[in-house]
């Protein structure tokens, strides 16, 4: 894990930079021309790790961009693959400290300064506006910053996505990780994701995912699932899936 801390933009600086980027894109400028690969006004947390040098920021950008070379956006499948490869690249290249990554200012810096072209490829102008929550995050409440979500999803479900070559879509991620208290049980979510990845039953996969997670969430009332071992958790997820659809494939367990 990296102990290099990501420079942070304050809310005011992030919003001002967002306005500039949006305006530049609206006037036809190329997003890659808007890259700022130095900290500038962004300041990393003062303690607990080291600040990145300009060469480190340059390496972060070069290596993440190389990882996304030839990865397209547009279709549902392309977008899912883009998110997965991006999350993997952030994990492997930047490798944020979870403590540092909990603060939205660092993600705003990465989105608006270091990787505006990645954001623009996935979340471009629509009716002349950029989706602020994807570019900066929500600022208060649950974050929706694209880079942060891609990284977080890779952290949680990267092994499952690789094992089944299955980049989950927005809806499936939404259902798998919606209940935060359940999502903090990483082993449980991974077993559920394996079940979803191999599902071949009669329900739509999104409906199956939602029903599966509702069933598992209901069990967290009488049971503390954290104490179950892997075999027991796997069996629990399998049994819950079978209750929803007896024809679920069973390949995931």
């Amino acid at each position: 894990m990296s102990h290099t801390l990501i420079p942070r933009l304050t809310t005011g600086d992030a919003l001002a930079r967002f306005t500039l980027v949006e305006s530049a894109l609206r006037s036809g400028r190329n997003a890659a021309d808007l890259v700022i690969d130095e900290a500038g006004v962004a300041v990393p947390h003062p303690t607990g790790g080291s600040a990145p040098t300009a060469s480190v920021l340059g390496r972060w950008r070069a290596e993440v961009m190389e990882s996304l070379r030839d990865v397209k956006t547009g279709s549902v499948n392309d977008n899912a693959m883009h998110s997965m490869r991006l999350g993997q690249a952030i994990s492997e290249v930047i490798d944020p400290s979870p403590s540092d990554a909990a603060h939205d200012g660092g993600w705003a810096f990465l989105s608006l300064n270091l990787f505006p072209d990645i954001l623009e490829a996935r979340w471009p102008l629509k009716d002349g506006r950029l989706p602020k929550d994807r570019w900066i995050g929500k600022q208060a409440g649950r974050d929706r910053n694209y880079l942060k979500l891609a990284w977080r999803r890779w952290q949680l479900l990267g092994p499952v996505m690789v094992e089944f070559n299955e980049p989950f879509g927005e809806d499936e991620f939404g259902s798998l990780l919606e209940r935060q208290a359940v999502a903090r049980n990483v082993r449980l979510v991974r077993f559920a994701a394996r079940e979803v990845a191999t599902y071949q039953g009669a329900f739509g996969r999104n409906d199956f995912t939602r029903a599966l997670m509702m069933g598992l969430t209901a069990m967290t009332g009488p049971l503390q699932l954290d104490v179950l071992d892997d075999h027991e958790l796997e069996a629990l997820v399998r049994a819950t899936a079978m209750q929803i659809d007896p024809h679920s494939s069973g390949l995931g367990a």
Binding site: T10, T11, A16, T19, G49, P98, G141, R152, Q224, E232
Partner: protein
């Protein structure tokens, strides 16, 4: 209080002590800012548990303490992490400590500590006496969580001041309140942020902390907006809340400024919004500087 499909322990059969957080040679009580922590510093949460063996066995219907564990979960909502440690229930009646070690760079902002008692064996069978038999069965039905603030000014209302014009906000606005919690149990301080427009002539007054007309308006509007947001966002309001959650903070505000529980306040806003907001003006000393000074 959760209803369980099996028998649980009498409230007095298990006593958890108040947890402490030990870091860099110092210990902190819950609610106390953990000033000697930074990302690189590991820490330990310590919580004691004491068991009244006879009372526990009688109320749960279990025949032995073997296979029963006390658990302490340390959750960090913003980093999405959870650490759980367990300890076999001490049969002696003397307190025993459960220690949860958190390594460097794992958590941020705050952690919540929640104790539980769980059946950690699976040798029993379903039975008419409703004695717990499934591994993981929770054997106490009500526990509270304890919050340890690790970063920031945990007691201050999160406020940021900057130029709205440069940020693309309406340049003539004085403030904007960001408050849009996803869940009633979200951490309150992570769900709210007050933005002040430094271009506005009143901004200095708003940021001063002095009791002025402008601040009385801001105060009333912030509380009103938060109550209306909760009323519009959550179909059901529980009666118990996690410590330092949106629900707990809003319930406190509703009780203080409307004399109602949060659930009652939401009902009142639905039934007669104008009357309820009028009562809120009265209780917040709206535009009445002498009453607030």
């Amino acid at each position: 209080m959760r209803a369980m499909p099996h028998r649980v322990a009498d409230p007095g059969a298990i006593i958890f002590g108040e947890p402490v957080l030990a870091v860099a040679g110092q210990t902190y009580a819950h609610g106390e800012p953990v000033e000697s922590w930074d990302y690189a510093t590991p820490f330990t949460v310590i919580m004691s548990v004491t068991v009244d063996r006879e009372r526990f066995l009688e109320s749960t219907g279990l025949s032995t303490l073997d296979g029963v564990v006390a658990c302490v979960a340390v959750d960090c909502k913003v980093s999405g992490t959870r650490y759980v440690e367990r300890l076999p229930l001490p049969a002696s009646g003397a307190p025993a400590d459960i220690r949860v070690h958190i390594g460097p760079h794992q958590v941020a902002q705050a952690v919540e500590v929640t104790p539980s008692v769980v059946l950690d064996s699976a040798e029993g069978l379903e039975n008419p006496e409703m004695v717990a038999f499934r591994r993981g069965s929770r054997l106490i039905s009500s526990t509270r969580s304890y919050r340890f603030p690790l970063e920031g000014s945990a007691t201050l209302f999160p406020t940021e001041a900057f130029s709205f014009a440069a940020a693309g906000f309406p340049s003539g606005a004085a403030w904007k309140l960001n408050f849009d919690p996803d869940e009633i149990d979200d951490p309150y301080l992570g769900a709210v942020r007050l933005l002040i427009n430094t271009d506005h002539p009143i901004s200095g007054e708003l940021l001063s902390g002095e009791p002025t007309l402008a601040r009385s308006v801001l105060f009333h509007e912030v509380i009103a907006q938060m109550l209306l947001t909760v009323a519009g966002s959550f179909r059901t309001i529980p009666t118990e809340f996690e410590e330092d959650s949106v629900g707990a903070a809003m319930n406190h505000l509703a009780e203080t400024y409307l004399g109602l529980s949060l659930a009652q306040a939401v009902d009142a806003l639905g039934n007669d919004r104008a009357e309820t907001l009028c009562r809120l003006q009265d209780r917040t000393a709206f535009m009445n500087v002498r009453a607030t000074s």
